[in-house]
Amino acid sequence: MATPAIEFHNVEKVYRRRFTGQEVTALSDVSFEVGRGEVCAFLGPNGAGKTTSISILMGFLYADSGNIRVLDYEPGDVRAKAQIGFMPENFAFYKYLTAEKLLRFHYLLGGGEPRESLNRIGDLLQQVKLTGYDQLKIGKYSRGMVQRLGLAQALLRDPQLLVLDEPTSGLDPAGRKEVRDLMFSLKAAGKTIFLSSHLLSEVEQICDRVIIIDKGKLLQSGRMEQLLGAGDRVEIVASDLPAEVEPRVADAGGTIERGPQGVRIVIATTQKRELAEQLWAAGCDVVSIIPLRSSLEDVYMKVVGGSASTKVAPSIPTAPGVSELPV
């Protein structure tokens, strides 16, 4: 059985100020795994510890404790890095170089042969739609073009694992769709993608697995369908709603919408059987009973809601500790 692409076990990281000795806990006992070929979303509000986790993963920072493996190697091991494509948040570049020269530099650093670089670079620039701008100095690029270039350098050596920190930030809607399509094709090619993003609707479309952290603690980790399927409400569509049943729906905290197709009732899953029986007993026709799937945004807000950084109203309850869904 193949080992996971990323293993993060009981990782702790504390930042210490050099002179004051003041400590800030960035990661506290964080554990998760990402399987090979999976597309995993790494979510959390700003300051949650995402960039610290990614930096540890890439070998830029050292964890204080914990066990970390990337593609079965220690973080920072050149054998692992040879198979990783990394795009940092706010990709920085040598402004005086052209895209072609920058990609050639990264290609050679990746261990590529100079004579092979031209074809690969040409293909990639075409893939990220930068053909025609390859001789323009990068300092003159727009933010979106820089993001595309960052993506191209991440894909340069055909990596097995892609670590992307906010890859669609700065892109227009068309650019975002192109990146999304690219990720679909990479997913189809069996690549593992570890993706940090705030665009939850995109993440929901692409990812197989979700990891949510906040304030350095893992809050939720699991497969996407299980996370979203964990909704606790159902939608019942009936031909009519008798007057004597209506107060019972309201008492159970349900909602009622009347339309030309009939009445749509949303109620807690635990109440669905009782309500359906009441409707049948009253002579109404129950057209459908569909479990309501939460959106990733719903799940995210429920899990990290209440944390100050998300600026969510305090009435939304905070998630109780870490919950790991069965894989």
């Binding site: 930096s55 830029f60 920072l61 050292y62 920085a92 570049f93 040598y94 530099f105 990264h106 650093l109």
Partner: protein, 269 residues
């Protein structure tokens, strides 16, 4: 291949670094300014005052050479420190270190890139010394390698010292310390320890002398008699041991830099 790629990239980056370019331009401007009185002196030299004027001219040549040489040490230190610090402040280091590059390979690439710059500087300085001697009416009658190897080893030391410091400190602080160290090394190089009365101070100065690089020892002027522009007779063994001392000092500093860089956090400063 990776180290070579990093070295050439670093070397290329210096020609887009405004501060390095300004430093080199200031150096060029000062040399040109100093050339004006030199040529003036040459112009007023007549048969009667030839010997006297020739001494003045050669002193001027010597002054220019000393200035260019000292300036080179500062350029070497700044280039080494800046080549690492700029990567950290701009964040470009993240994409570079995500490649299969070890930390010591990164630092060695940066160091070699700096040494490429300083090699160019030394070659230009070599050409300048020939030009100045020619203007001064002399011909340098020496093996060229002394004028090439000695300053280069000296610059190798200061680049390594700066690189070791910049893995821990900010570049401006690094440069302050390098400047102080270079002055102290120069001063201690010509100090007479026996003149110091207090034993504790004398011992402290002795320790400082051994810890700091002996740049006076590595000065090409030890072998070059500028008044006649000819090489003093020196055995190969002395050249080898002196240069080996300088290279060893640079290597120790570079290894310290690599050790320190290995443990530091790589993030955008």
């Amino acid at each position: 291949m990776k180290i070579r790629t990093l070295a050439w990239s670093t070397f290329g980056s210096f020609f887009h670094n405004w501060l390095i370019l300004i430093l080199l331009m200031v150096c060029g401007a000062v040399v040109l300014l100093m050339l004006v009185p030199l040529m003036g002196m040459k112009a007023v030299t007549s048969a009667q005052n030839a010997a006297q004027m020739q001494t003045v001219v050669l002193n001027m040549v010597s002054g220019i050479m000393t200035f260019v040489s000292a300036f080179g040490s500062l350029v070497a230190a700044w280039a080494a420190a800046d080549s690492v610090a700029t990567e950290m402040t701009s964040g470009t280091i993240l994409a570079v270190m995500a490649r299969p590059v070890r930390r010591w390979e990164f630092l060695l690439g940066k160091y070699l890139g700096t040494m490429l710059l300083m090699s160019t500087f030394v070659v230009m300085m070599f050409a300048l010394s020939w030009l100045l001697a020619w203007i001064g009416g002399e011909r340098i009658q020496s093996t060229p390698w002394v004028l090439l190897a000695y300053p280069l080893v000296r610059y190798a030391i200061w680049a390594a010292v700066a690189m070791a410091l910049v893995t821990l400190l900010r570049p401006i602080l690094t440069m302050g310390i390098v400047f102080f160290l270079s002055l102290a090394a120069w001063r201690l190089g010509s100090a007479d320890f026996d003149e110091i009365q207090r034993v504790a101070v004398r011992n402290l100065v002795r320790v400082a002398y051994w810890v700091l690089p002996s740049t006076n020892l590595l000065s090409e002027s030890r072998f070059l008699e500028i008044t006649h522009a000819s090489l003093k007779q020196t055995g190969w063994l002395e050249h080898v041991t002196t240069l080996a001392y300088g290279l060893d000092y640079a290597l120790v500093c570079l290894l310290l830099a690599m050790w320190s860089f290995h443990y530091r956090s790589l993030k955008r400063d």
